[in-house]
Symmetry: C2
Subunit: 263 residues, 2 copies
């Protein structure tokens, strides 16, 4: 329902990445899958998550006698380090371990390098045939029939830089993840508590806003977005204030807010 | 989250009545229970529903390693007729069978007869002691020391009439429920389809708006509220129009709308 309200098209979903099996991270999944089925979704859906995710979904669907109109492929993950788990035409996804009370995965989404952009005027000027376009986009020079070579740099422009995004929730402050998420363009990191609850954060294997900001700083990320705020805080400004003392480019993950990932 | 948004206090919940184990009727329950626990709820919660409700909740809580801070008592129901399943100081709740694709319960909520209202001026005039109040509220006369009897009708006024509410979802058109819900003040009855889908309604064991209205008419209810509309209808007015052709006092169950149950 939140996806609908925020105009996120469920029909575009191919893969779902679950961090861990606590209720606030998986209770919505059976409803998402069954409502996708009701909407007539047909393509394969791949679901990634810690061991138990398959049983949880299958048992839930079984109790509720739900038949999905599409196939679901489960991948139960237990990554020891950065592990590639999914790849498509446009991106690769890696899982890595987080430190929480139960097995938990962080995820790194890396856009793949893009093909070079064509300079249309030059393509027309040299009458370059369609069957040569892909290799020129991949960086090849073009050979004229008279033997002259047109260097790729005259035919193409640099593509936009691939972007990257890391998703780290739920986790205690854990510098071991820094090498996995180094220099990502956008880091989402949980921040359940503020400085006043530092010891409770450690005890519950959660982070404070400044814990998240320290990770962002140490990993040299482009931008930090924090979320998963404890409901005991009525005013969320304190999260932003405390995080920005450590890492200036921080924003709050407020429901419905849209973040563009920029390199 | 919907309850929060509509200012329904979760802390007041004592019992939960589940119609059947299809996902759109139970997927929210684990989240409701765990969030009540997180909010510090302590009292016993009784959960009523068809067989399987206990296993579904217990397995879901187990997969997600959720510990509730309160006790949950499950009552798996398989009513053959109108069966009293719960009673409190103010009301009795009855379950009865509905006809759907899987075992499904309808529920009837009947307020208990109330004590008579006191006429404060008369209570003062005759100096009636506190320990006599309950029996006077229950209908007793009052005996003065001089032997004079003050009739109850001088001391009290009629209480408001107990109200009743029936909840019937999901179900195909089923006249067998009429005796169970006869003359209720408010009937909620599902209306998944309109007249254009009458045969699909029967095939899927759902009702049309006019099916619901026919039940309301035959049972002589005070007011009908219909809901559970198929998402294929973008405009809901047609449900209201078609139902009102059969039963005038019909309203749509739109999210957040409040209905007062009046006798």
């Amino acid at each position: 329902m939140r996806m609908s309200a925020n105009k996120v098209k469920r029909s575009k979903i191919r893969a779902i990445f679950i961090s861990h099996l606590h209720g606030d991270h998986v209770f919505g999944l059976p409803g998402l899958l069954t409502s996708m089925s009701l909407s007539g979704h047909k393509g394969l859906i791949e679901v990634f998550g810690p061991p138990g995710i398959k049983g949880f979904i299958e048992d839930t669907l079984s109790y509720t006698q739900s038949q999905l109109g599409f196939q679901v492929q489960f991948h139960e993950l237990n990554p020891l380090g950065l592990t590639e788990v999914f790849t498509s035409k446009h991106l690769s996804v890696y899982a890595f371990p987080l430190k929480h009370r139960i097995p938990t995965c962080g995820y790194l989404f890396k856009e793949l390098p893009k093909l070079r952009g064509l300079r249309k005027d030059k393509i027309e000027q040299y009458n370059i045939p369609v069957d040569k376009i892909l290799e020129i986009k991949s960086g090849a020079d073009f050979h004229l029939q008279n033997g002259e070579v047109i260097s790729n740099e005259f035919l193409t422009i640099d593509p936009s830089k691939p972007v990257s995004f890391a998703y780290c929730t739920d986790t205690v402050f854990d510098p071991e993840i820094i090498s996995f998420i180094n220099s990502v363009d956008l880091l989402y990191h949980e921040a359940t508590f503020c400085n006043d609850m530092q010891s409770l954060a450690e005890e519950r294997f959660h982070s404070t806003a400044q814990d998240a900001a320290r990770i962002a700083h140490l990993a040299g990320v482009g931008k930090l977005v924090i979320g998963h705020f404890s409901s005991r805080y009525k005013d969320l400004e304190i999260f932003e204030e405390e995080a920005r003392q450590v890492f200036e480019n921080t924003d709050l993950a407020i429901e419905g807010r849209l973040f563009e990932i920029k390199s």
